[in-house]
């Protein structure tokens, strides 16, 4: 019997159009999952904290100042701020933009609820991103520094919201952000296999709807409190808080008034 090499299998022709799955290649799985996770923790958790803290504005400028002071007195607060807020948020926002520009929305052809929600998640994400850039810049870094002057927080926001355009921006962004977060939790549960069944997703949809609405209403209430409930808030309701820990200067001559006890 003659030995012949077995016929070579036909080479897979180069495909035009959408490329097949690149099994075993790339790191997009890791980045995409990180994007999904950071949306829940730490960013989602921070959003909830932020909205709850802002709800203190309903108790007036002093209560709000106490809340701002408390947050800024957390241990390692600047590390927390960068490590749990700014850096994850920047990653989530930039990778989110990358995801958004690579999608080809087709609600014009297939106007189905899930498809609209797909689009809404991208639109609200972009709104939130643009809003947060100006919000962080104008409220955290520009103007009077709130970590050292928590008492000025209420007034600073009030001045900001005295501009009707800014007020409109805050209201729109509040709605967009709560929407993005609420649907984000729903998407997280669906995609990570926490709610695989139709019924489970539906039920969890109600839960997310309630959570999102509650957060949104709390945020809007805070905006209302700043603009209408306590008009003309004083510029600063607390004395300046020096950076670091300082013992209060005592009037009587106790050993504590010894200057050597004062730490810088």
């Amino acid at each position: 019997m003659a030995t012949a090499a077995p016929p070579a299998p036909p080479a897979t022709p180069q495909l035009h159009g959408v490329q097949p799955l690149r099994a075993g290649e790339g790191n997009s799985y890791l980045w995409r999952k990180l994007h999904s996770l950071t949306g829940i923790v730490p960013i989602g958790a921070f959003l909830v904290e932020h909205i709850i803290s802002n709800f203190e504005t309903l108790n007036g400028p002093l209560a709000y100042a106490q809340q701002v002071k408390f947050l800024n007195s957390l241990p390692l607060v600047r590390i927390l701020e960068w490590g749990l807020i700014f850096i994850p948020l920047a990653f989530h926002a930039l990778y989110g933009l990358f995801i958004a520009v690579r999608g080809r929305s087709n609600v014009n052809v297939y106007p189905w609820a899930g498809n609209w929600m797909y689009l809404s998640q991208r639109v609200t994400g972009v709104i939130a991103f643009l809003y947060i850039i100006q919000h962080v810049w104008r409220q955290r870094f520009a103007g009077v520094s709130l970590p050292e002057n928590p008492g000025a927080a209420f007034h600073k926001v009030q001045v900001e919201l005295s501009n009707p355009w800014m007020l409109a921006i805050y209201v729109v962004a509040m709605i967009a952000t709560s929407w993005h977060f609420a649907y984000g939790i729903w998407l997280f549960a669906a995609k990570w296999g926490i709610t695989p069944g139709e019924k489970a997703r539906k039920k969890f949809g109600y839960v997310c709807g309630v959570v999102g609405t509650a957060l949104c209403l709390m945020g809007l209430a805070s905006i209302w409190a700043v603009v209408y409930k306590y008009p003309n808030a004083p510029e600063n309701v607390l004395p300046e808080q020096p950076a670091g820990v300082v013992l209060p200067a005592s009037q009587t001559s106790s050993p504590i008034s010894d200057p050597s006890f004062v730490q810088k």
């Binding site: 495909l15 490329q19 799955l21 297939y110 498809n115 797909y118």
Partner: protein
């Protein structure tokens, strides 16, 4: 219906690189037609509405009963199976166009081999080839059968991919059908031997992570596969596999 003709507008293209043109046809009305019989009617007498002779329209079809999966096209703009799209239920003029996300071969026929390649990447088969009789396979519990049967209905029509906003050149997303077939074969008592390889494949670039959960797939699938459920289940399994690999390999 009192109408005497059916108006059709077909986006045509003579070869893969050629420019697309729209040809209009008007054919005598018969009750109970579907799009494949309409195209057959045109092939009998390929003359456009202006009386100009043209060529029969090229399209894929085979079973004519929505089971082979070959006749997917855009009918009035939406991805559907031509053989199950009834002319009487369509608004006129009926527009026909090739699927938009696959390279056109000619007229309404497109090259959908990307799905075949994807199925190969996830090893969507039961590995039982061998040189000797392996004997009967393991028993399948009815509960497993009930979950698997709907997934086995996939006809590889690629409609779920066509309608998916994430299935495009930029992402190279694998699409719902392949993910559903991964679940089908992972749940097979014999096929599950390749489970880990399939799950790893789905974490590659263009893998399950690209899903944006727009849920168009499950709306559009002509065979009503539970696609979102499969994506969710595989999403969890792929994640668990990645974590296992991280700590155990």
């Amino acid at each position: 219906m009192a109408q005497s003709t059916i108006k059709v507008e077909i986006k045509r293209q003579s070869s893969p690189g050629a420019a697309a043109v729209t040809e209009k046809f008007e054919i005598p009305y018969r009750p109970g037609m579907n799009i494949t019989s309409l195209l057959g009617e045109i092939a009998l007498n390929p003359v456009d509405v202006a009386g100009k002779a043209t060529t029969p329209v090229t399209y894929d079809s085979n079973c004519l009963e929505e089971i082979c999966g070959s006749c997917a096209m855009l009918i009035n703009g939406k991805a559907r199976m031509a053989c199950s799209a009834l002319v009487d239920k369509l608004e006129q003029p009926i527009t026909l166009a090739p699927l938009s996300k696959f390279p056109v071969v000619r007229d309404l026929a497109v090259d959908r081999s990307v799905l075949f390649e994807n199925l190969k990447k996830v090893k969507a088969w039961v590995p039982i080839d061998g040189t000797y009789d392996l004997g009967p396979g393991p028993k399948q519990a009815p509960q497993i059968q009930e979950q698997r049967y709907p997934l086995s209905n996939c006809i590889s029509c690629t409609i779920c991919m066509e309608v998916c906003p994430q299935f495009n050149d930029a992402t190279g997303f694998v699409g719902a059908a392949t993910i559903a077939q991964t679940k089908l074969f992972n749940m097979d008592p014999s096929g599950s031997v390749l489970k880990e390889e399939r799950l790893r494949a789905l974490a590659g670039d263009g893998g399950i992570q690209e899903c944006g959960f727009a849920q168009n797939c499950v709306q559009a699938c002509p065979k009503q596969l539970p696609l979102t459920e499969a994506i969710s289940d595989m999403g969890r399994d792929v994640f668990v596999q990645q974590v296992k690999d991280l700590f155990a390999r």
